[in-house]
Amino acid sequence: MEVGLKMTMKGGGGDHVGGCDKEKMGFEETELRLGLPGGGGGGGDGEVVRKRGFSETVDLKLNLSSKQDTSGIDPNDEKVKGLHQEKNLLLSAIDPAKPPAKHIMLEIDESNNEVVLVVKKETLHNILIQEKYLNDYRAQVVGWPPVRSFRKNMLATTTQKSSSEESGEKAALVKVSMDGAPYLRKVDLRMYTSYHQLSDALAKMFSSFTIGNCGSQGIKDFMNESKLMDLLNGSDYVPTYEDKDGDWMLVGDVPWDTKSCGEMQEEKLKEVGVVNRATCSFDL
C-alpha cells in the first residue's frame, strides 16, 4: 500500500490548497520527524517519531502548467521557514545513504497533469522500526555482532577520515525515479531552497517523457555543469551508466570529482550505456 507525502505548496498556479493558516496547520499535522541511525546524515538528529504522522496522506503536487508563478520567495517569510522545516523533513525521509530510491517515486497523474512524489509507507515504517531496534540493541547488547574491537576501531577510524574529507563538499544527492522513464536521475537537494524550486526542477527533468520535444532543452539545461554537454547538442542519445543498485542513471547528475569513491569514476565511462531518448531503448 502506498501513502504519499502530501505537502501543500506555496506559490501560484494550479490546484494548491488554501491560504497561509491552512498550510501551517497542515505542517503540524503531517509533521514527521525521522531520526536517522547513527544520528548523522541528512539532517535528522534522532528526533521523536510521531506515529500519527505516517498515516496521513500527503501528495506533493508538481504543476507542469506554464502559468506557474515563479516569483522569488522572501526567505524571512514565516511560511518559507515552515517550508525549510519540511525540506529537512523530506531530507530526513530521503537520506541518500539509506533506502534506495525505488521507495520514493514520481507518479504521473495525467488527468490533472501533475507529477506526484510518493514515498512508500513500508519504507517509512521500516526506517522507524530499524532505528528503534538499533537504539535498543546498541544500548543493551554487549559484544554483538561478534566483531573484534580492534577491527571495529580500525573501521571507525577509516570511515571517519574519509567522511571528514568529503563532508565539506557533500551533496545531498537523492535518486529520483519516474514510472516508465528509461533512466533515473539524481537531484542535489541542497541546491533548492523551496519546494517550488524542487518541483520546477523535477518537472523539467522528466518533462521530456510526458511532453515530448521540448524536453531536450530541459535536459540540456541540467547538463550545464557536465563536461558532456557538447555531446548532447542535437543528439537524441544520452549517456547513462549503471550504478551499484542496478539502476540506470543519467550521466552528469553527480558532480565530477575524482576524489569521490562514488559512482562517477574515470573508467566507468567505458561502461556507460546510451539511451535513445526518442525510442527510450537501450544500447550498450
Binding site: V141, P146, V147, R151, K268
Partner: protein, 572 residues
C-alpha cells in the same frame, strides 16, 4: 620397542611434528615418553592457566618454541574485563631464569607488558621470532627493546594488537648489524614511523619475505621499499592514496611489476579506488587477499580487482562487496578454500550488503570451499541446505546474522533445518558458530551429526536445557564450548561434569546457571577451575546459591587455582 637405541628413536620422532601426534607418542611407554620430552622443541599451550611455566620447563628442557593463549575467545567481543588475566610476564621470567634457549614465542589474547618484552629481548641470545595476536598492554617502547636487543631477530609479527603508540623511534632501534629479518608486520600500529629507518632496514634485509606496513607509510615510501625488496612474498600496503597521474604512481607501477613473488596481499588501510589498476599485474598470482580493512574499495572497482585474482585460495573482504560481488568471486576464484566476509558497518541496520544469495553463489562456484566466516543481513534454510549440498568439505563454518534472532525471512521458521543440513553434510566439521532464530532442534542435529566438532559458539539460541545436553552428550570431540544468552541452567550444567575434563574450556554468560550450580561443579571436579566473573560485585554481598551467575568460565588445569585473578573473579 627397546631394540633401538634412543638416538634412533629420537631421529624418528624428529619427523613427527604435529602436537597431537607427539602427545600420543609420549603416552606409549615410559622410555618413549622420556625420549619424546627431551627431543621436543615446539610446545603449544591452548590455555595458559592449564599448566605452569615451571612444569613446562621441567618436562621439556629442549624447548625452543612456545605458543600460549590467554583470554577466552569471547574476550574479543568485550565480554571479558581487561585485567582478567593472561599475563605473559611470569612465563618469560621463569623461562629467563632457566636454561631454556627460547627462540620463538607466539602469543594470542595475552597481556604483554613492556617489561616482559624487555626481559624477553635480553634473556635469550638466539631469540628469533615474536608473534603477537590480539594482545595488549605494551607500547612501542617494548618493541624498541626487541628491535635493539634481539641480534638474530627473523620475525616480528604484530596482528591486531592494541598498542600504545608513543611514536618513538622503535624502527630506528634495529641496529645496522641486523640483517636477518624475514618477516616484519606492524600494520596494527597507529602512529608515525621513521620512514628513513624503515627504508634502510628493508635495504639491509635480503631475506625479507613478508612486510606489512601501517597506515602511516605513504605511497612513495611503499614504492621505494618495493624497489629494494622485489623478493617479497607477502605484502601489506599501508596507505594507498595518490594522484593517478603522478610520477610516484608510475614508479609504483614499475616497482610492483618487479615483485613477481607476491602471493599474499593485504592492508589498503587508506585507499583511492581509482588507482587499483597498478595492482593488477600481481593479482594473477595471489593466493591470499585481505581487503577487510578497506571500506573505500567497493563496487565495480572491487569486482574488477577480484576478476584478476584467479588463483585465490583465501579471501577476506567486507560486506560492501555485496551479493553481486560474491557472484564475481564465484565465477573467478575457482580455487577458493577460505572466505571471510566482515561487516563494514557493524551497527548498520538493513544496509549490510550480503544475504544468503551471495553465499549460495560462492558455494556453487567454489567447490573447494572449506572455511567460512560470514556476516550477513539474513539467511534462509533453503540457502543453507543448498550450501551444504554444494560444499560438503567445510571444516570451519561460522555464520553471523547481524540480527541475532532473525528467522528465515521467507518462511519465518527458525534456522534449525539449515544448520542441521550443514552438520549432516559436512562430516569433517571442526568449528561451528550459530546465529539466527534457533530452537533445541538444531542442537539435536549437532549432537547427532557433528562427530568431529571441536569448537561450538552459541548465542541467543535454544528453548531449554535439552539444547545443551544434546551437544554435551553427542559431540565426543568437543574441546571448546562458548555460550551466551541462552536458557541453559544447572540441570544442563550438572548432567555430566566429567565431560568438562575432556574439554579445554566452557564459557557461559547471561544464561540460567546459578552460583549453587557452579559450586557443585567445582566441588565434584577438583581438576577444573570454575571462575565466576562478577564485575558488578553482586556476589560479594549476596552469596545466595540461587543467584544467577552472569559470567562463568571453567577450564581444566593441572595446577589448581591461579593466583593472579582480580578481585571480581571468584574461583570456586
Amino acid at each position: 620397542m627397546n631394540y633401538f637405541p634412543d638416538e634412533v628413536l629420537e631421529h624418528v620422532f624428529d619427523f613427527i611434528t604435529s602436537h597431537k601426534d607427539r602427545n600420543s607418542v609420549s603416552l606409549v611407554c615410559k622410555s618413549w615418553y622420556k625420549i619424546e620430552r627431551y627431543s621436543r622443541q615446539r610446545v603449544f599451550i591452548g590455555n595458559c592457566y592449564s599448566i605452569s611455566p615451571e612444569r613446562l620447563i621441567a618436562r621439556f628442557p629442549g624447548l625452543k618454541s612456545l605458543t600460549l593463549k590467554g583470554k577466552p575467545h569471547f574476550a574479543d567481543f568485550n565480554l571479558v574485563p581487561h585485567d582478567w588475566g593472561g599475563f605473559v610476564y611470569p612465563w618469560i621470567k621463569a623461562l629467563a631464569k632457566s636454561r631454556i634457549g627460547l627462540e620463538e614465542l607466539r602469543l594470542k589474547r595475552m597481556v604483554v607488558s613492556d617489561e616482559s618484552l624487555e626481559l624477553l629481548s635480553k634473556s635469550f641470545v638466539n631469540f628469533k621470532s615474536l608473534v603477537l595476536v590480539s594482545c595488549e598492554g605494551f607500547t612501542t617502547d617494548g618493541l624498541a627493546a626487541i628491535a635493539a636487543n634481539c641480534r638474530f631477530l627473523r620475525e616480528l609479527d604484530l596482528q591486531e594488537n592494541e598498542v600504545d603508540d608513543h611514536r618513538g623511534h622503535w624502527l630506528s632501534c634495529f641496529p645496522e648489524s641486523c640483517t636477518s629479518l624475514i618477516s616484519l608486520n606492524f600494520a596494527c600500529l597507529r602512529g608515525e614511523v621513521n620512514l628513513g629507518a624503515l627504508e634502510r632496514l628493508v635495504s639491509r634485509s635480503p631475506n625479507l619475505k613478508s612486510l606489512r606496513l601501517n597506515r602511516a607509510v605513504p605511497l612513495d615510501t611503499l614504492q621505494k621499499l618495493l624497489m629494494r625488496a622485489p623478493q617479497l612474498v607477502d605484502l601489506g600496503i599501508g596507505s594507498y592514496v595518490h594522484d593517478p597521474f603522478s610520477e610516484v604512481y608510475n614508479k609504483l607501477k614499475i616497482a610492483i611489476q618487479r615483485c613477481k613473488s607476491i602471493r599474499s596481499l593485504s592492508g589498503f588501510l587508506e585507499v583511492a579506488p581509482h588507482c587499483m589498476s597498478a595492482i593488477y599485474p600481481i593479482c594473477g598470482n595471489l593466493t591470499f587477499l585481505n581487503l577487510s580493512y578497506a571500506p573505500g574499495l567497493h563496487g565495480n572497482k572491487l569486482m574488477k580487482l577480484i576478476q584478476h585474482c584467479r588463483k585465490l585460495q583465501r579471501l577476506w573482504i567486507l560486506d560492501c562487496i555485496g551479493d553481486k560481488g560474491l557472484g564475481v568471486v564465484a565465477l573467478t576464484c575457482k580455487e577458493l578454500q577460505e572466505l571471510r566476509v566482515f561487516p563494514s558497518d557493524p551497527f548498520g541496520a538493513g544496509n549490510a550488503a550480503v544475504t544468503e544469495e551471495g553465499l549460495v553463489l560462492v558455494s556453487a562456484g567454489c567447490p573447494k570451499l572449506n572455511s567460512l566466516l560470514y556476516f550477513c543481513q539474513q539467511m534462509t534454510n533453503a540457502a543453507l541446505i543448498t550450501v551444504a549440498k554444494n560444499c560438503p568439505n567445510f571444516i570451519r563454518f561460522r555464520l553471523c546474522i547481524l540480527d541475532p534472532i532473525k528467522p528465515d525471512p521467507v518462511t519465518n521458521q527458525p534456522l534449525d533445518e539449515g544448520f542441521g543440513a550443514i552438520v549432516q553434510s559436512c562430516k569433517g566439521l571442526k568449528r561451528l558458530s550459530l546465529s539466527g532464530l534457533l530452537t533445541d532442534q538444531v542442537f539435536l542435529y549437532i549432537g547427532m551429526y557433528a562427530e568431529q566438532l571441536e569448537m561450538l559458539s552459541i548465542a541467543f539460541a535454544a528453548d531449554s536445557d535439552k539444547g545443551m545436553l544434546y551437544v554435551l552428550n553427542g559431540c565426543k570431540k568437543l574441546r571448546k564450548l562458548e555460550i551466551r544468552d541462552c536458557p541453559f541452567g544447572d540441570a544442563a550444567l550438572l548432567e555430566d561434569v566429567g565431560k568438562y575434563e575432556t574439554m579445554r574450556s566452557l564459557w557461559m554468560s547471561s544464561c540460567e546457571v546459578t552460583l549453587g550450580g557452579c559450586k557443585s561443579v567445582a566441588e565434584k571436579m577438583p581438576s577444573l577451575n570454575v571462575e565466576i566473573i562478577d564485575e558488578c560485585e553482586q556476589m560479594e554481598f549476596n552469596l545466595d546459591d540461587k543467584q544467577k551467575v552472569d559470567k562463568m568460565y571453567l577450564y581444566r588445569t593441572l595446577v589448581g587455582h591461579r593466583k593472579d585473578a582480580p578481585e571480581y573473579v571468584s574461583i570456586l
